[in-house]
């Protein structure tokens, strides 16, 4: 394999070479269209149906070729072949729907049946076509794996036209498709023609599949439909953003994939496009902020650290509070022993040691000599604040149990943010009054209040 020069790369990627420009542009447009309509196919939970559909196009290609040859044409006209592909693809879909609606077989049975039977017929028809005397059927099998380099100007116009149409339709029907994919029964009860909408989605999928046959091939085109939206889902919880990401991923896969294939002729475009899409998927799955694996792991470990820190500060403050209560009633920052802290919660010695190391690094804790520990000046202030907020939450849960569950976030730092200043003021009043009806829960969240001056 010869690796291309940088100047070649630049020429291809920036579309300055006419032949590769056609290929790259058509696969890029195809990527946008399949990214958009693929998102709805995915959300409608019909991904496998797309796979069956693409395989069902093969007999149509062979039959269209034979009809065109018998009528005296060359048999290689792309619009003719793709029309045949569309017809047999749609026939496959209708057969699937028929199997589902008239028998009690499950969806996947119908899909598996249509996929294998139509593909089998297609292979048989193609080999029959090879044997027609006087007709040159060579190259028909390229629809199975795709042959992007064969795209010429007239093909490009057809592919671009269909891709643009499918993209516009996906955006135009955004609201209707969303409703159908989310809640079909509700959509039907509201009078939307759900069957027609479903068929329209499948027609758009067929259109994109068929124009993808030439460049990506019928086996791999499903990856072009499914991978970009699946990758996009990791980045966002918003459907419109998902569509944008999906179209972008489709565009990048088509653009890069066709470019790489043009630079390294040994690599077929269809395979490279799918590999680029798969790489985007992998990156999304690992790194996407909204649902990616690594960000989720980081979020969880950050939360764990925060909870640890708050637990330590509260435990330490309550220790100090209990001991200084015995002395004279006000909370003074006195040293406490490691053992006492260990007993305060159910944490292992190892875990507590690592928490204390962090606390020391954050300058919340300092050694007080003779194996004793003491909160630092800023640590003491922080501990008092965390403990107070935690108590506010607990008071809130007890006093407002009726509305509390949907509002409670036990993170001490969130109390003002979620409950609002007015509620916090009221809770503080409750807390300092130590109202009789507010009975606080026992250990492990033992709450010992600094007695209000009026109550001595």
């Amino acid at each position: 394999m010869n690796f291309p020069e940088f100047s070649d790369i630049l020429e291809v990627v920036t579309l300055r070479n006419y032949n590769t420009a056609l290929v790259v542009l058509s696969t890029a447009l195809l990527g946008i269209a399949s990214g958009l309509i693929g998102a709805f196919l995915l959300l409608r939970k019909r991904s496998l149906m797309g796979d069956a559909l693409s395989h069902a196009t093969l007999p149509g290609i062979g039959i269209a070729f034979m009809i065109m040859v018998s009528l005296g044409y060359s048999g290689k006209s792309l619009p003719g072949l793709l029309a045949g592909a569309s017809i047999s693809g749609i026939a496959g879909v209708l057969l699937m729907l028929l199997i589902r609606n008239t028998t009690r077989l499950r969806d996947d049975v119908g899909m598996g049946f249509v996929l294998s039977v139509f593909f089998g017929i297609g292979v048989a028809v193609l080999s029959m076509a090879q044997n027609i005397p006087g007709a040159n059927a060579a190259g028909l099998e390229s629809f199975i794996y795709g042959k992007a380099a064969s795209i010429i100007m007239s093909d490009f116009v057809l592919i671009a036209g269909v891709a643009v149409f499918a993209s516009i339709a996906s955006v135009l029907f955004l609201k209707e498709f969303t409703l159908l994919c989310f809640d079909e029964a509700f959509a039907r009860s509201e009078g939307w023609p759900t069957l027609l909408l479903d068929i329209f989605i499948l027609i758009l999928v067929t259109a994109v599949t068929v124009i993808g046959l030439q460049s990506v091939g019928l086996i791999l085109v499903i990856a072009f439909l499914i991978t970009p939206p699946t990758a996009a889902r990791f980045w966002t919880h918003k459907l419109t953003h998902m569509l944008l990401f999906s179209a972008l991923f489709g565009l990048v896969s088509g653009w890069l994939g066709a470019s790489i294939s043009a630079l390294i002729p040994e690599l077929p475009a269809g395979a490279v496009i799918v590999l680029v899409a798969a790489s985007l998927f992998l990156i999304s799955m690992m790194c996407a902020p909204a649902r990616g694996v690594i960000p989720r792991f980081l979020r969880q470990s950050r939360l764990r650290k925060k909870v640890d820190r708050q637990h330590f500060l509260r435990a330490a403050f309550e220790l100090v509070e209990a001991q200084s209560n015995e002395v004279d009633g006000s909370v003074v920052n006195i040293p406490f022993s490691w053992e006492a802290l260990l007993k305060k919660r159910t944490w292992s010695a190892k875990k507590l040691k690592s928490i204390l190391r962090v606390a020391q690094r954050e300058d919340h804790l300092e050694p007080a000599g003779q194996g004793m520990l003491r909160l630092s000046e800023p640590g003491f202030g922080e501990a008092a604040r965390v403990t107070r907020n935690h108590r506010l939450w607990e008071t809130y849960l007890i006093k407002h149990a009726d509305i509390a569950p949907s509002h409670v976030d036990r993170d001490a730092d969130m109390v003002e943010h979620i409950l609002g200043a007015e509620m916090v003021r009221q809770l503080e009043a409750d807390l300092s009054k130590r109202e009789v009806e507010v009975t606080m829960p026992p250990s492990p969240h033992q709450i010992q209040q600094s007695p209000a001056p009026t109550e001595s």
Binding site: L43, K45, R104, L172, F173, L174, K175, E176, T178, L179, C181, F182, D183, A185, F186, R188, S189, E190, G191, W192, R233, T236, H237, K238, L239, M242, D402, I403, P405, S406, H407
Partner: protein, 275 residues
Amino acid sequence: MDSTFVDTPPTSQGGVPDSRPEHPPEIPLAIHDLTVAYHRKPVLWDVELNIPEGKLVGIVGPNGAGKSTLLKACLDLVPITSGWAHVYGKSYKKHRHLVGYVPQRESVDWDFPVSALDVVAMGTYRHIGWFRRVGKKQKEAARDALEQVGIGHLADRQISQLSGGQQQRVFLARALVQDAQLYLMDEPFAAVDAATEQAIVALLRELNARGKTVLVVHHDLATVSKYFDWLVLLNMRVVASGPTEETFTRENLQKTYGGKLDLLEDAAEALRHVV
């Protein structure tokens, strides 16, 4: 069972509501001779039902009694084998703007990439019509509805991050923005927390107070007499229908649940309150 079904004498009289005096034409929901069959097996048969205006109606019956199917048949969601269901004297097709529907919560995928507000706004789609986007007015209405069900602060949250009870409230809010006269609700109390159950009951009563008719598929016999002023006891056919205090009797429950009744703990509990 099939032969019973076939032998049942046809009672339909051409499907004209006026020809049947027992179905007053302007009531919210009139069902006549309704039979629904799935795969040759009847799920509902010969259902005759009148739901009067302004009632809070509970539909109660054992599993597989056809409660959900009854709602779906009224909404044209399942093919009707015979008979009809009329909304305010007309077919559902003509009067669907008068009906709001709350499907079962488990019927949709809650991992769908939309926010609570987006779902509620779906209740306004029929007013918006084809192709046009959800506007400011509709968003406002959706926000108000979320406030009404007590989760206005969760409007922008993605629906998978809501609890089961909150998801149910989202569905109710969507029905509220439909601004209907007749509400059909499929198990809104299924698997929700106590606070949500109370909130839903309060909401149903408020709708009721505003003159709306509300039909609720319900499964908890213990709360029937507390929540509903009209009761339909269903087990493939209508066992009894009428004001709760007259309908909710030991005898009717026995007919609805058969031998299963004694096995149901809450039923036993409920029967203690039955006269």
